[in-house]
Symmetry: C2
Subunit: 281 residues, 2 copies
């Protein structure tokens, strides 16, 4: 697998680098960003936090707007930020912002025209970490976080792969996608009408079956306009409580769905991940 | 003067607000952003740092990318971020990115077609602070900073109005615009062929005439692709030395011209400004 460096910026004594590569599971060229903290320049290999972004985002929103590098540099955590879907002229798309390119929902599509490229689940779980761990001075110690559609991705992927991640966190995740308009529209298109198949990508359902309890932090802004109709954090919290799955839940009064909210609390999430990525002896 | 609120986001326990208003000196509608730190919600009035942005920017680049709110909230500094030129269909423009809209150079144009709207100097020095101080819980204690074209704006405005600002800082400023392609092109268009008129907007010339020495911090990335041809910080530093004008100069090895560089050191600039905005008794 080959990486092509397209941008490099020094930041907080570390390096933000942007690459393209040909993805096998997505059958297209993909772009991602990686922040390598200063420890890597001194010969140290560091753990990795994967950040999954929300609808319409690319790898660039988080790196430009989250203000995460200061703390990641201090804590010695690499940040890997993939795109939100397969991309390109030959990749199926839709005019709507919530389906197709920019809206991969971190699942493996099984229905045409989506199933030939839309395998973001396999890309995030397997292909990308393999590529990252072959190519950069990082350990195979991972955690995962994300926002909105990416919060959904982080929690579902974490719950299904507790052996691959040390911790999961999410800002304003789509918490019960089988029961909200964004999720139902995407799942019907990508997975078909058989609702039984949708459960593999629904945090509120998956958490009830979890055999291993990964540390889980959920963050929600109190002035988030999508909270009631689309995100439904209370469904996930209720399901977790029923399943005796411990969740650290943070409610932020007055905060909305934007990166101005995320940036306010990203340090807290990085400290949370750090405590599991660098466990005390 | 009336303000129209168009966006509000809670961030770091303060508020980012974006407004439009009709500017008298620019004869058009203008937009700006203001970050009000949490102290203002507790009844305190705070000093203001004005941030002047670079070529092609609006009020949004800094607020989204600089990561300045965490420290501004901690220190109790309001941030006011104006646009970089007059705007609108009736405002003269040019196809190039370095002339016309997005490229006001913080001067008062004297040549048509620019002179009917392009009075960014008066807007920044007088009209905007008056509006801000009438409309928000802020003091008339100001400082000024900026990047690239905005660094040029901050230094020239600071040097010409030492009674109005407590301190000046700049990231990668255009330091000697009468002697670089960006400056010569803009000054010729806005001010005409009489080069004598250009000196009023050239930091390297103004610093030699300064009667009052404002605290001045200059920051320059060592891997900035515009440094040698356009920015010429060494001209300003040499002129300052000749004039016995003390400058705190910071050279950042490996850093470029981007907000990934600015965000790495914005805390240092905010602390610098804080020490003059909140002088110890």
């Amino acid at each position: 697998m080959k990486l092509t460096l397209i941008n490099a910026n020094k930041s907080f004594d570390g390096w933000l680098k942007q690459y393209t590569h040909v993805s096998r599971v997505l059958a297209c060229e993909m772009r991602f960003s990686i922040f390598l903290p200063p420890q890597t320049a001194r010969g140290q290999s560091v753990p990795v936090l994967y950040w999954l972004s929300g609808l319409t985002c690319t790898d660039e929103n988080f790196v430009q707007k989250a203000g995460a590098f200061r703390k990641a540099a201090e804590l010695g955590i690499a940040l890997v930020v993939p795109d939100t879907s397969p991309r390109g002229e030959n990749v199926a798309d839709d005019e709507a912002y919530d389906l197709g390119q920019g809206a991969g929902f971190y699942l493996n599509a099984t229905r045409e025209p989506w199933s030939s490229h839309y395998h973001m689940y396999d890309y995030i779980v397997d292909e990308l970490p393999t590529l990252i761990e072959e190519s950069f001075p990082v350990l195979d110690i991972r955690s995962i976080s994300g926002h909105s559609m990416g919060g959904h991705g982080a929690i579902t992927i974490g719950l299904r792969n507790p052996d691959r991640y040390r911790a999961v966190s999410a800002f304003s995740p789509i918490s019960h996608p089988t029961q909200c308009p964004w999720g139902q529209k995407a799942f019907r298109a990508y997975l078909g009408d058989d609702i039984a198949a949708w459960g593999a990508y629904d945090s509120s359902l998956l958490i009830q079956q979890a055999k291993v309890q990964l540390p889980l932090l959920i963050d929600q802004g109190g002035a988030d306009p999508f909270c009631d109709d689309q995100l439904k954090p209370e469904s996930l919290l209720a399901a977790a409580e029923e399943a005796n799955y411990p969740v650290m839940s943070r409610y932020r009064e007055g905060y909305d769905h934007s990166y101005f909210y995320i940036s306010s609390f990203i340090d807290e999430h990085l400290a949370f991940h750090h405590s599991y990525l660098y466990p005390k002896a």
